[in-house]
Every structure is written in C-alpha cells, then in structure tokens.
C-alpha cells in the first residue's frame, strides 16, 4: 500500500525539466496552481491541461506513473464531486426523491474535479523531477528574504532534508516492529476502533524511542563533522540560473497571459 504513494517521490530521468533550477520549478508550480483558480471557463482548463501535457512530455516521466499518484486522492476526488453535485442550489436538471442535481452543480463539480486533478498532477510532476535536496535548496533560497525577519530558514530547510532522508528508514522500521509484535501474538487486524488504537501502542512506543535514538546519534555525527548552523557554510551545489531557466520563465509568463486572456471568452 505504501508503495502506491507516488506523490513526493523522485523519478530519476535525464530531461530538460530535471535540469531546471528548482526555484523555477517551485515558483512555476505555485503560479500554475494560482492560475488554476483564476480559470473561469472551459477554454482556460483546456489551456492549463494542454500546457501540463506538454510539460509531462518534456519531463520524460511516464504518464502512467504520474496518473498512479491520483489513486491516493481518489476518495477525496469523489467526495468533492459528490458534494458539489448534490449540494449546489440553482436550476434543477434532474430530480428523484431527495436527490437534486442542478446545472450549476454539474459545472461546479466538473471544474472542481478538473482543478484538483491538474493540481495534483502538476505538483507531483515537480517532485518527480526535483530531488528532495534540490527542493529544500530551492525553498531555502526562495524564502531567503525571510531571514531578515529572523525566520530560521536554513534550519527549516535542513530539517526538511533530514526528514526526507529518514522517512524510508522509519517506514522499514515500522514494518519490522509490526512483525516482531505479531510474532508475540499482537493482533492489529481485528476489534473495534479503541482496541485497534490500543494495539498501536506496542508499535508507536518502540518507533518513537528509535526515532529519538537516531536523532541523538545524528546530532552527534553532525557536530563531529563541524556542523554549526548556516553561518559561514558554503554550498557544494549552489543554485545558478542558466539559459533554459530563462526560457522557462518566459514560458511561465506566456501561460499567465493565456490564462488571463481566456477569462475574456
């Protein structure tokens, strides 16, 4: 089940998109999401979908792999659609007992579903083409101005990248602890909510202890390697804008313009 979650994963490939500066990808994704909410009509969605399609082609990430990411939000998606479909008031087009579907409802449900799908596809495409480290570097750089407001930007970025490093290790550990407790007769599959919640204690306690032990070890190892915060640190992979990044920015501006224009149709 855990393997189905593709959101947030990195898909290694050699494409223009993979080589783009993470700051461009981060800002681009943010702009894309904002634009999705500015869209007013079918034309706008068509433009957004086509653009995303083109970028997916450029990314060399298989389409099927990206779509698999939608599996995890399918319930959310159905819920949103149902909510909008049945609970929007307006001109009824279908009525049966207490169920009432309105014209406005259909259009709202449609646009919400399309928005959600494009949003998920767009943002997962960013994580597919950007390594976690680049992502945190990009965030650190984009949030840089906040340092003046005493926001610990470097520390937040460091925490994020360490968390990304340890997620797979802790998942594996959870699996191991579960098996070990099962071997001692623990039962995670039957019983009511309270019984099941109680059954989690023998997993969660060792997991927390292990996470704290690892954190202590890691802190010591980092100190031993002369880590003392962001001050005076140099970068092995400093972020630099290249020509393709400029082109990407032009493309992003074009996309904003198209979206704004589409609102007039």
């Amino acid at each position: 089940m855990i393997r189905d979650i593709t959101i947030g994963q990195y898909y290694p490939a050699d494409s223009i998109l993979h080589r783009l500066d993470p700051r461009v990808k981060l800002s681009g994704t943010l702009i894309y999401i904002v634009c999705l909410f500015l869209v007013k009509n079918l034309w706008g969605y068509l433009i957004a979908a086509l653009c995303l399609g083109a970028i997916i082609r450029l990314s060399k990430v298989p389409f099927g792999f990206i779509v698999r990411g939608l599996k995890t939000i399918i319930i959310l998606l159905l819920f949103t659609v149902a909510f909008n479909l049945f609970l929007t008031s307006g001109t009824p087009i279908f009525e049966w007992k207490f169920i009432r579907i309105t014209k406005e409802g259909v259009s709202l449900a449609f646009s919400m579903a399309v928005r959600l799908i494009l949003l998920i596809l767009g943002s997962s495409l960013m994580t597919f083409t950007t390594t976690p480290n680049q992502l945190t570097d990009g965030m650190e750089s984009l949030l840089g101005p906040l340092k003046k407001l005493h926001v610990p930007v470097h520390e937040i970025a460091m925490m994020m990248s360490i968390a990304l490093r340890f997620i797979p290790i802790l998942l594996e550990e959870t699996d191991k602890i579960m098996k070990a407790q099962q071997a001692r007769g623990a039962d995670f599959e039957t019983g009511g909510i309270i019984k099941r919640a109680k059954a989690m204690v023998p997993i969660l306690v060792p997991l927390f202890i292990s996470a704290f032990r690892r954190a202590g070890d890691l802190a010591m190892a980092m100190e031993a390697r002369c880590y003392r915060g962001g001050e005076g640190r140099t970068k092995m992979k400093p972020l630099k804008y290249h020509k393709p990044d400029g082109i990407a920015w032009v493309a992003i501006v074009c996309f904003i313009a198209l979206t704004v224009v589409s609102r007039r149709f």
């Binding site: 480290n133 140099t234 092995m236």
Partner: protein
C-alpha cells in the same frame, strides 16, 4: 610528533535524580595516560562499558575531561575556541551507518563536512571526488544511501570524514553492525587510508581479527588501560585476554592450547602461515 596525548584523563558520568541531586558517579575513564604517534594504526579493545567509546568522544571534543588533559594534534580539548579545529583534525566515524548519513545522495553527504568548514565550492567537488575514490565508492556518487549495503554506507561515512582532510580518524566500532563481507571491506579501506594517505587511525572494536595488523593495541577494562603493546605482544597473553572477556583469533587460541598440552610452539601466533611454519619446524 604526537597525534594524541592523554595525561591522567578522568571522566565521570554524574547521574542526577529528578530534583537534581547526585545519585551516582560513574568513572568512565580512570586516569588514562597514553600517546599515539602520527601515522600510526592503533586499535582499542575492550568490552561494552570498558570506557573505549567515552575515550573516542573525548578525542573529538564531544565530551570534555573531568580531570586531566587531552591534547589532540597539540591542542588542548578544553580550549573552546579550538573546538572546530580539533573536530576537523580528528574526524569520527560511528557504529550505526544509517544514523550518520545526512544527505539523500552519496556525494552530497560527503560534501557536508567541507560545506560546514566553509570550503569554496570548486574545492568541495575536488575533495568529494578524491575521498570517494579513496574509499572505492566513486561510482555510487549519485546513488541514494538507502540502497547501499552496510559496508558501503560505512565507506561513505569514512569518505565524508576524509573530505574534511583530517590528520586522524577515530572509528567507534564501525563494523559492529555489519556482516563479514561488510566488515572486511571497511577494514581494508581503513588500512589503505592509513598506508596511502598517512592518516592516523584509532580503531575501536571487539573483533580480534581486525586488530592483528595494527601498529599498537590498547586493551581497556573498567575505564583503565590494562594492556598495551604490539598485536603479537598482546596476543601472547591469552590468559590475561580471557580474563578481560576478550576473544582471541582461533589460530592464536589453538596454538596456545597446544602449547599448554606440551607442544613447543612460540607465543603470539597470529596467522595460519605462522602456525604452519612453526608446525613444520616441529616436524623436523
């Protein structure tokens, strides 16, 4: 030149109860005095709780002596403004390979130390390449550490220390969590670094076969240095080692037992070749 010099080093762990009253005082290090020369390969043996890990942490200035002094590369570890110089000149590798790799890509992890030292970008790349080649992990530079074996992870951790250009590496049971293959590859790497790069090595372990090539062996028990000498000198004293609950290589033990039964064999046999030679002489 001395790399490490300890003078009557004492370290106490003080345990306090909830109100802050002293509950107990454990002497983890009890008047340790020792010298380690530059370029040496020194092994420290002792079972858990003998104080060997505490000693390692003192050398890296993670812990400070309660009494006595410790000089690392001529610097007193108590001098706070020398802290980063000390940590740079005596790098440390820990037991659990998973808990000391910070980055999600091998090369970025090796670059972590130099980044902290403020080394210019170009120089970082040079150092990363050189260190990864030195430990034989260059072709894995863009891999995720999670996909590597234990021995490979430990070699990455060693490269991470090498990239800081230390004069000495302290390894705190680097092989305890590895399988025999992983252990061999890590020990081979350490020996090569000692020979080729002339780094002083301080290897803490409880596997005997890892220390037979050391220049000097130190045995610790209960916070004290109880034995010191070349591997041959140490392994000639099988009885004593057993008293400290230490292992002896099987071949050393075999030769020792045969000698006990009256066969005229020399003391301190460390390898199968030496054993066979001695037996052949006996036959003639």
């Amino acid at each position: 030149m001395k790399m490490i010099e300890a003078k009557k080093l004492i370290f106490e762990y003080i345990r306090r109860d909830e109100e802050g009253n002293v509950e107990s005082i454990d002497k983890a290090l009890d008047e340790i005095s020792l010298d380690i020369e530059k370029g040496d390969f020194v092994a420290i043996l002792g079972h858990n709780g003998s104080g060997k890990s505490t000693l390692a942490k003192q050398i890296n200035a993670i812990l400070m002596p309660t009494e006595g002094t410790l000089y690392v590369n001529g610097m007193d570890t108590k001098e706070e403004d020398k802290l980063w110089d000390i940590r740079q000149s005596a790098g440390m590798v820990f037991q659990n390979p998973d808990n000391q790799i910070i980055a999600t890509v091998v090369e970025e992890d090796v670059g972590f130390g130099p980044e902290n030292l403020g080394v210019p970008t170009e120089e970082i790349w040079k150092r990363v390449e050189k260190s990864l080649r030195a430990v034989g992990m260059y072709e894995y530079r863009d891999h995720s550490p999670n996909k590597l074996s234990g021995g490979q992870k430990q070699r990455v951790a060693i490269a991470g220390i090498m990239a800081m250009k230390p004069q000495c590496i302290v390894l705190d049971e680097p092989t305890a969590m590895l399988d025999p293959d992983g252990r061999k590859e890590v020990i081979r790497t350490i020996r090569e670094l000692n020979k080729e790069e002339k780094v002083t090595v301080l290897l803490i372990t409880h596997y005997m076969e890892e220390v037979i090539h050391a220049d000097k062996v130190i045995v610790m028990d209960d916070g004290k240095v109880v034995m010191q000498g070349t591997p041959r000198e140490i392994f000639s004293r099988v009885e004593e080692l057993k008293r400290y609950r230490m292992d002896v290589p099987q071949i050393t033990e075999l030769a020792y037992e045969l000698k006990q039964k009256g066969m005229p064999l020399p003391d301190g046999i460390l390898t199968i070749e030496e054993f066979t030679e001695a037996m052949k002489r006996l036959e003639q």
